[in-house]
Point group: C2
Chain length 697, copies 2
């Protein structure tokens, strides 16, 4: 399968070429506007000419071999045309036609299966079906079916969308400049993962934007994201399905199996992928990365504005987005005092007052002064650029910005408007040309800036860039291991569990209890009995051999009475643990991405405050420690209110051990719960008080 | 002071009238564009004509008496001109000139004081100084200094801004329609509170928008908000200063004393005021309220969109904003199945598919069907209206919307675009005319919708629409009462405290302990000793008269040794409390708005999770109960995990008692802390285990 023949072909045939409105005509119009026409061949059995260019009557009539065929024709013509195209050497095809799996009928699904099989037979990389096609702006290749206003959009955003509508909306935005814009449709042959991988490798693509409804090839997805992380190429993803209703919509739209949404958050965090909440934020964030000539070298932002009201908005909205505005150095403040009107009070965020925006030179000096502050990584210029310019200050501001850029000491800058609007095209182009993106209003703009700050703070070397993707299996059953079995597995991975063993006579109980030392805990040992306490299967605080003997008889008796059908291994005797701070460690295996480890403080912290950290396995101790630090309740680990600091190191070691276990046994374990782990004071370790492992069966 | 002569004058003089750029010329241009010119008189000593209209050489030359004078002239001319205007009957003045308190110099502050005194002397309602003026769109009165594009902006938003820039930005938005647009400047004579009050009373104003940097007249503010709540007129406020840096900016911009920001949140919640985070959200929310012909009658929203991607965004972003999308009734689903293409799967949010948007009749039927669903209060039409229309579907959609409106069974509707842009003016006007506001993209749009839902859910009758604003006082000192004194005050307001009293001999200690019943707790009784335990001033779990005698000697001895200078009242003996769930009740008195009561679960819940409810006093038990219900930890009160349900009623009663105490003693109490209150099981009440009251001194 050749991605090059599809996305970067040398020769292209447009089948169904026409001058009418509709797929054929609109594709031809796009070709004439954006494509290098030399190697494009129009095909239509009924026409000799289309828009004044010669038109072949069939693919076979084309005088040269072709790489890519763009089929603007209805579903029933597709398979024969693909055969014809293959005979002419085509390795890529774009199919707009619908009527496939997206209609949800058995016929539609069958048609798509047949199409896939044919592509495999002919070795054709097919985009679609049910797509709007693509434009490769770099090589000027066009197979795109929707019209938008004519202008140069060549740039460095590689965009792939499972929704054609979003593709078109992105092209409608005056700031967007693309390397590739791809509407992938049903993505049944060439998949979203293939496009992603291609764009990450593509040298012209500075940032990849992705509208994602679901993943079908987790291994490919993982591999692509690892590569992007290692190359430090930003990948910005709008993943539908944060809400329960949204995830239903995504599933019904593409039929892709979407796992729990939280796993995507955890996965993206691990690989440094930027997740956005909606299409506008996706647009703003990709545009930001694409337009900045360099990334900021530190997280601190400076905000400069022309009015006090706007400065206050930047202060508040920035802080709410987690933006850090470092205080200016005294030297910076001194210079600003000399530059600004006497009634201005220099600070970060800075109200420059409107006065200075009418003097390009002073404006440039203020900008340069703020940039020169050693704590500043990027400058946010607050200004509402309108479509129709009424206030001439933008002229002077742009001149000031330009002279700072030309002086060569510029740090990254963005312009942040306070209201939505179309932006004046002339100034938009000028600012874009200077490397200054114009963001959307504060909520979106600061969200994009926060993504930028997170991106520069991400270090691929600090993250285990792997998933533990399980093999596909037919097994649908699940079997719960007994507590004793569960504990044995955990111990193999260095997780401390209470000393103890399973005994099957009263004498053995007494002997084992003696050798463990008192007090001990005794529990019925049976994988069939889940709620041990409820049926009298637990005895706590046993203090002598006699008590142990007596407890054994009682527990076994209760089991016979209340759970006569349960398979009983005996009684599990454990040394009773001193109480510690209760932590929960859990593992859940996502059918696509494999196990992820969850950690949180026990009880209400997890259940009411939802204060948990989640991370896909495998990962090591450093990552486990970072998981703990991300908990809101983390201060409780560190000696809260004069209490003893807890053994965070031992806990991190334990979490990492569980992650290793989950990864190594990815094909076996469905679920694992340690609830609770007792965490003791610094240097005193932890102990898994109760553990349960569920395996595939 | 006449607000009418300022804001709704019969005759207006523009002093400094001119044809040049600048305040004078731009004000005249605005007059010619928007004002009823019949009663406007231009004044300029150097001109006989301005823009072809006669111009008087002085105010005295004006042939009639005037109500309002607009001074476009520099600071030094202001006071003499005000005297001239007053002589001509003026009761209102607009002063653009700056150089007053906003420059922060002693001269500026003095100039403003002098101006205020003069206005008091002349009985003039003055807008400004340092303002951009206002336009009264209803009576066509103009005293506004900034130019924006010419078009009719008459509508029902009354907007007051302490920032002139925001005023102008609001006018730049094509959807905004105003009753009044007021840039209030320094607001030193006529205050922001006066404008607010005026607009709440104004029949043409449907919604009041306010950009607020600080309150200077809390009583007026309270009165205005109470009136608005009772009239059910929405007041939407952008209050600067959510962040620490933002609150510094606000303070330096207007010099207004801004109290803790959290008190504004609590205050606004009480009065049903809508607080927004930035200017775009302010604009969107006021526009939403102004444009909808009626408010929705229930909170459930329906979302309809042309693509699956957009439907997913609405599902996710709506849920994140706390929007409720009720499931459609079976009857609705059935009708939709008949109307939509076979491959559509009806649900809420609804993907109608793009097909139906090209058929006005079908589109109208779908819209009406969704509206007819009994669970739906408002319909959100997801569609990115662009400036240049490329896709004709909007034509059919608008026709469909129109026919639904004309049929007379329409529920409220909004249009929600997915990307920022200017909107096509023709369709914008059409949709506005049909009562369908076009919102900004999802983050902002859903925030505005959430405000709408909150507004219709607010019931003024469920809120005590009062504050306990303290009298201004010179007292700056504070005095901490002893625990015994504090407890006595609390008991007056029905708060249960442990039985006990202060004794000053060992014999009295033994006798008191005997009569209380054992065990008892004994503590040093001294307002001068804060940390009683540290100096051996506390004895717990005293079980006999002998122990009580002995403890008395020991505690008094320790006090003599370790706090020789403290004034000691004796030893406070209390019955020892059984432990309960620990709750904190606190009161802090805001210098402007008076006491607010805070409640939260003790320890980490307050300190780490910041899980608290705050409400300004006074209020009653129902409100106290709602405060508790708003706590994230509320499930813990209600029998979490099989534990005993707590006595929420007794706790609510106690909180209401504290609120009454705080309100009645507003001029005395600075701070009050009950930490902890023990809350017991249902029917078993509460007890304030430790309480501290700090009073003014």
């Amino acid at each position: 399968m050749s991605m090059e023949k599809l996305l970067s072909p040398k020769t292209v045939a447009i089948v169904g070429a026409s001058e009418k409105e509709g797929f054929g005509g609109d594709t031809c119009r796009n070709v004439l506007s954006y494509a290098n026409p030399d190697n494009v061949y129009f095909v239509n059995p009924k026409r000799d000419e289309v828009f004044g260019r010669p038109c072949c009557h069939s693919i076979a009539d084309i005088p040269v071999d072709i790489d890519l065929v763009v089929l603007c024709t209805p579903q029933k013509t597709i398979e024969p045309l693909l055969r014809e195209a293959a005979a002419k050497g085509a390795g890529g095809a774009v199919v707009y036609a619908s009527g496939y799996s997206e209609v949800g009928t058995p016929e539609g699904v069958a048609a798509e299966e047949s199409l896939k099989a044919l592509c495999a037979e002919l070795d054709i990389s097919l985009m679609g079906p049910n797509c709007a096609g693509f434009i490769n702006y770099i090589d000027r290749v066009v197979g795109f079916a929707f019209i938008s206003d004519e202008r140069d959009r060549t740039g460095s955003v590689g965009f792939v969308s499972q929704s054609g509508q979003l593709c078109l909306s992105f092209m409608d935005n005056k700031s967007m400049r693309f390397s590739y814009s791809i509407s992938s449709g049903n993505s049944s042959v060439v998949t979203m993962e293939d496009y992603l991988d291609y764009l990450i490798d593509d040298a012209h693509t500075k940032v990849v934007g992705l509208y994602l409804e679901g993943v079908t090839q987790p291994e490919k997805f993982e591999k692509a994201l690892r590569k992007a992380a290692q190359m430090r190429k930003p990948v910005v993803v709008l993943k539908a399905g944060r809400s329960e209703k949204g995830s239903k919509v995504a599933a019904s739209h593409t039929g892709s199996l979407s796992g729990a949404d939280v796993i995507y958050d955890a996965l993206f965090q691990k690989f440094g992928v930027i997740r956005v909440n909606d299409a506008e934020e996706l647009l703003a964030t990709t545009q930001l990365f694409a337009t900045l000539p360099t990334l900021p070298r530190q997280a601190g932002l400076a905000s400069i504005n022309l009015s006090g009201g706007e400065t206050g908005i930047c202060a508040d909205m920035g802080e709410m987005a987690g933006i850090e505005y470092p205080d200016f150095e005294e030297e910076t403040l001194e210079k600003l005092r000399a530059l600004l009107p006497s009634y201005a009070s220099p600070a970060n965020p800075l109200d420059t007052t409107a006065t200075i925006s009418y003097d390009a030179e002073v404006y440039a000096s203020v900008l340069q002064t703020v940039m020169d502050d050693p704590n500043v990584g990027l400058v946010v210029i607050g200004y509402t650029l309108l479509h129709e310019i009424a206030d001439p200050c933008i002229h002077h501001m742009a001149k000031g910005i330009e002279s700072v850029v030309k002086n060569g000491r510029a740090k990254p800058m963005v312009m942040l408007p306070f209201f939505e609007n179309s932006r004046n095209p002339e100034y938009l182009d000028k600012l874009n040309g200077l490397g200054v993106p114009v963001l959307p209003p504060p909520t979106y703009g600061f969200a994009a800036l926060r993504h930028l700050v997170d991106f520069i703070g991400y270090d691929p070397d600090e993250n285990t860039l792997e998933l533990a993707i399980p093999e596909k299996t037919e097994a649908t059953g699940r079997r719960t291991l007994s507590e004793f079995e569960s504990a044995s597995i955990l111990r193999e991975y260095g997780v401390r569990t209470p000393e103890g063993s399973v005994v099957d006579t009263p004498e053995a109980a007494a002997k084992t209890a003696d050798s463990l030392g008192y007090p001990v805990v005794m529990k019925i040992a049976s994988a069939d009995i889940a709620h041990k306490s409820d049926m009298g299967g637990v005895a706590l605080n046993i203090k002598s051999a006699d008590e142990a003997r007596e407890a054994f008889e009682r527990i076994m008796g209760n089991a016979r009475t209340y759970a006569p059908d349960a398979r009983v291994d005996g009684v599990y005797i454990q040394k009773m643990l001193p109480p510690g701070v209760e932590v929960i460690i859990g593992v859940n295996s996502d059918p696509q991405f494999g196990p992820a480890v969850l950690v949180g403080l026990g009880g209400i912290f997890v259940e009411i405050f939802r204060d948990t950290s989640l991370r896909p396995a495998p990962f090591g101790k450093d990552e486990a420690r970072r998981m703990l630090k991300r908990l809101k309740a983390f201060p409780l680990f560190n000696g809260y209110r004069g209490q003893e600091a807890l053994d965070v190191e031992a806990l991190a070691e334990t979490i990492a051990g569980v992650a290793r276990l989950a990864a190594e046994r990815r094909n076996e374990i469905v679920e694992l719960d340690i609830n609770p782990v007792f965490v003791y004071g610094k240097g005193k370790g932890i102990c898994a008080a109760d553990a349960l492992v569920v395996v595939k069966d």
